[in-house]
């Protein structure tokens, strides 16, 4: 019991992390598009769990709302509307998949080796930074809003232009003339 209390956060981290990675692998390896979609949902939720563990509550809830909710529904609509049955017997990997796998493993190995060697200073691991504005303790949502509308106001506005372009693009390419 003591072991669980002391290492609870770490255990939960490994649980969610493993879930996120395994379901992500399922997304690309499954032949049934519906299975892929549900594996993706699990992956999104596991990542939301990781955000909760880091005390980024706002991000976690948005992750569930936007990705787990909105994006998932869109995927399911597409699977429903587009006839995807032929995917069952189509080849889902190209010729180069062994090379791609090798490169991916090498890349993951390299990044893990580098990250394992980094000494993160304790201040950066503290969750207090996520809930304070100028030293005053507030909620996580307020802290995010403060950052977004103060320091990151310009990128925030550019992002709205970006979403407009995405919308125009979808209409332009999908409209029947």
């Amino acid at each position: 019991m003591d072991f669980l209390l002391v290492n609870g956060t770490a255990l939960l981290f490994y649980l969610f992390a493993a879930l996120a990675v395994l379901s992500a692998i399922l997304v690309v390896s499954s032949r049934n598009p519906l299975h892929s979609a549900f594996a993706l949902l699990v992956s999104f939720l596991a990542v939301a769990g990781l955000f909760f563990l880091r005390h980024a509550e706002f991000l976690a809830v948005v992750q569930i709302f936007v990705y787990g909710g909105g994006i998932m529904v869109l995927f399911l609509f597409v699977i429903m509307l587009v006839n995807l049955h032929r995917l069952q017997d189509a080849k889902i990997y190209g010729m180069q998949w062994p090379a791609a796998l090798l490169l991916a493993v090498l890349f993951i190995g390299l990044v893990s080796w580098v990250v394992a060697g980094v000494q993160f200073s304790p201040a950066n691991l503290s969750p207090a930074a996520l809930v304070s504005i100028d030293g005053e303790v507030v909620g996580n949502v307020e802290a995010v809003a403060w950052q977004l509308y103060q320091q990151y106001l310009l990128p925030f506005e550019i992002a709205s232009l970006f979403l407009l372009v995405a919308m125009i693009g979808a209409v332009v390419l999908a409209r029947t003339e």
Partner: protein, 490 residues
């Protein structure tokens, strides 16, 4: 970080006006039967001109080189130079597009709207002073380009190009963003000056996290400038896209990516100069060799120009490699000249293009000197400039770049540059041979309708020659625009 003062937003007015014109075109395009092609083109030219005037005006209002809007945005001579260049390149693209869109029978409103929004992204990007604002502006530009590439949606080639560009572009953006996140992990900042400060400490400690971070960031940037080995998308996308869009990608998009590559490398990653010079040298060499050798076997002129664009990315990277003031203005001068001769070459392809992709293969250029002497003469100037032969802007551009590399002690890269330029003579001159020394069965003169397009081609040819005869004026322009800048390297 002090809060943002409301008057700081006035300094964004050129970008806001340009985006507003883009959105107005979108609305005009969806009312009733939509806006006519010529009308939309005229409106976008007005928008571009207004933005150009405002860019110069805001420059006088701002404190040069002082970051504003919470450190996200900066107005300096460097940004001014590029913004004017992007606006000129976009205006020329508009001239190139009018007849092409009309003949293709596609709606004009959305096309010009996306063109203006992509340019807005470039202008925001080159003034970006923080990796967050730079990345999101880059994405604004890229997303607009993906749609423009696929704009001719009833052509398979255009669909294929758009999909390839989108998937590979999204992958490269992801890699870049991952690199940025690692840099943030290593330095706790994304503002370029602070990043340089943190990295100079990290270098001393032999930090590996920031090394992986900047390499991934650089990979994303190399993809955008289509440098080998991150160039695989270029030939298919350039061939499949509507030709005016190809010209826009080859010129404005590439110039914007180079501008931001230089800003990030020179201002943010300055302490790592010894490390990134090695990477840039390797990428530049590979691009020059690969681009020029692959171009040798092409029979399609658009595809040949795509490989030539990869090779040119290699030459231009030499200016980055030099990591000096000379390298910087050489790069700026070269991209100025490159804008005119490359857009001119694509303009000529557009004028010759007919249904069934005629005008794209080398054989379509046979006997052009007799069928359209003016066009052949202009194309000759552009091809000479692409090779780097006087009296064109391409010659001095290359001389300055090679000189900058040699001055910085990278003689072997410059030698490869000269050798590969010699190789490029073969495939550029193949077009000249077709135009002037081959006869075609068809001898009827090519109809010279579309006066706007012909004027644009003529303008490009004249500017290319002026840049070759009086390079000093433009070099001084580039030099003066980097002067008030606090470059960490220089």
């Amino acid at each position: 970080m002090p809060p943002i003062a409301p008057q700081e937003f006035w300094l964004l007015v050129p970008e806001i006006v340009l985006a507003a014109f883009g959105m107005a075109l979108l609305v005009a395009g969806s009312i009733g039967r939509g806006i006519g092609g010529r009308m939309a083109a005229a409106a976008s030219l007005v928008g571009l001109a207004a933005a150009a005037v405002l860019v110069v005006w805001t420059q006088g209002q701002a404190t040069m080189g002082a970051p504003i809007l919470a450190g996200m945005f900066v107005l300096d001579g460097f940004a001014l130079y590029w913004k004017v260049l992007f606006l000129v390149a976009t205006a020329l693209t508009v001239f190139l597009s009018v007849r092409f869109i009309e003949d293709g029978g596609y709606r004009a409103g959305e096309y010009y709207s996306l063109l203006l929004l992509a340019t807005t992204g470039m202008m925001l990007m080159v003034s970006g002073f923080n990796l967050v604002s730079i990345w999101i502006s880059l994405e604004l530009m890229a997303l607009s380009s993906y749609i423009l590439v696929g704009y001719f949606k009833f052509e398979r080639r255009s669909n294929e190009a758009s999909l390839k560009y989108f998937i590979l572009g999204a992958l490269s953006s992801g890699i870049m963003l991952y690199g940025i996140s690692l840099l943030y992990g290593a330095t706790h900042t994304l503002a370029l000056p602070a990043l340089a400060g943190s990295l100079s400490v990290a270098v001393l400690q032999g930090d590996l996290l920031s090394t992986v971070g900047w390499i991934l960031l650089a990979v994303g940037l190399f993809f955008k400038v289509s440098a080998a080995p991150f160039h695989v998308w270029t030939p298919d996308v350039y061939v499949g896209a509507p030709t005016p869009v190809t010209g826009y990608l080859a010129v404005a998009s590439k110039a914007a990516a180079f501008a931001i590559l230089v800003r990030i490398f020179y201002q943010g990653l300055a302490p790592l100069v010894i490390d990134w010079q090695i990477v840039v040298a390797a990428v530049a060499t590979l691009s020059m060799i690969w681009g020029n050798i692959a171009a040798l076997t092409q029979r399609n002129v658009k595809r040949m120009l795509a490989y030539s664009s990869i090779a040119h990315a290699g030459y231009i990277l030499m200016g980055v490699l030099a990591a000096s003031e000379t390298g910087l203005w050489a790069l700026m001068f070269y991209l100025l000249a490159y804008t005119f001769f490359t857009l001119g070459a694509f303009g000529t392809v557009i004028l010759l293009e007919r249904r069934e992709y005629a005008g794209e293969t080398l054989d379509d250029y046979a006997g052009l000197a007799r069928r359209a002497p003016f066009l052949a003469a202009c194309m000759l100037i552009f091809l000479l400039a692409l090779t780097g032969i006087p009296p064109t802007g391409g010659f001095f551009g290359k001389v300055y770049l090679f000189a900058a590399a040699i001055e910085a002690g990278w003689t072997w890269v410059a030698v490869i540059g000269v050798l590969t330029s010699a190789i490029s003579l073969y495939y550029y001159m193949a077009v000249v041979v077709q135009m002037y020394f081959k006869d075609s069965e068809e001898i009827t003169p090519i109809p010279m309708r579309a006066p706007g397009l012909i004027a644009a081609i003529g303008f490009c040819a004249v500017v290319t020659v002026i840049l070759g005869l009086l390079p000093g004026i433009f070099v001084n322009l580039a030099k003066s625009s980097i002067l008030p800048l606090a470059w960490n390297l220089l």
